[in-house]
């Protein structure tokens, strides 16, 4: 399945785009998705390690299954305020 992933702030700047697409087997966990992104987009690796994933309007854990129909995003450490 093709998973589209939103990028923000430093991640977006490093990659030069606000969205990447990852081809992945269905039934993978977010922990697996993290490894795939890390392998295919090595420049994101450092900041990705400090980031979490969101699916829809929820933060998700590493063991949760990825649903490509969700709005998936990588959330790097935040700095609002």
């Amino acid at each position: 399945m093709k998973i589209e992933i939103l990028l923000f702030a430093g991640l977006r700047e490093i990659e030069g785009t606000d969205q990447i697409a990852i081809e992945a087997p269905s039934g993978i966990k977010f922990a697996d998705l993290r490894l795939l992104i890390s392998g295919q987009h090595p420049r994101l690796r450092y900041l990705l390690e400090a980031s979490r994933f969101a699916a829809g309007n929820c933060m998700v854990g590493e063991e949760q299954l990825v649903d490509a129909a969700d709005r998936i995003a990588i959330i790097p450490p935040v700095s609002g305020g």
């Binding site: 700047e13 450092y46 900041l47 969101a54 309007n57 935040v78 609002g80 305020g81």
Partner: protein, 154 residues
């Protein structure tokens, strides 16, 4: 005068934050205290001189998280009004990036709730700032990470 039962005001704006209308909105008959926290762009961090900050958000998630913060604050404290406004885009030195305005019957509750709201916003809500320095460099701020990760652009 008639007062709405409960005014919910959570906003992400692209223009200057006007504090006065927020304080007026929070000043209700049941409130004996209105506490306003306003975060502004600071010129110096150590020796580095900032010209402006640029904010971006993940709008849908940020609004959802802010609404959850308001719900949590209202569960924890007895609040009359609870207003959070964050500005996005360019925020020059001296201008407000965020306002938290809370009213309650007594001041202790309003101080505690306002403090908790801004602390939790800074830790949890998907909004990011990029420092634009006087020397022309800029840097996305991701607490706990080093800017050596290719985030610094001259």
């Amino acid at each position: 005068l008639s007062w709405p039962e409960e005014l919910i005001l959570i906003e992400l704006v692209d223009t200057r934050i006007q504090i006065e209308p927020l304080i007026r909105a929070a000043s209700r008959p049941a409130a004996g205290a209105v506490v306003a926290f306003v975060g502004v762009t600071r010129e110096f961090t150590g020796t580095k001189q900032t010209v402006e900050l640029r904010y971006e958000s993940y709008r849908e998630l940020a609004l959802a998280r802010l609404a959850q913060l308001e719900t949590s604050a209202r569960e924890r404290w007895s609040l009359v009004e609870c207003i959070v406004v964050h500005r996005l885009g360019h925020v020059p030195v001296g201008e407000a990036s965020v306002a938290v305005v809370v009213s309650s019957a007594h001041r202790q509750v309003a101080f505690e709730a306002a403090g908790w709201l801004i602390d939790t916003l800074k830790r949890d809500v998907p909004i990011w700032k990029q420092e634009h320095f006087a020397d022309g460099s800029r840097e996305w701020i991701h607490p706990g990470t080093s800017s050596k990760a290719g985030l610094t652009a001259d």
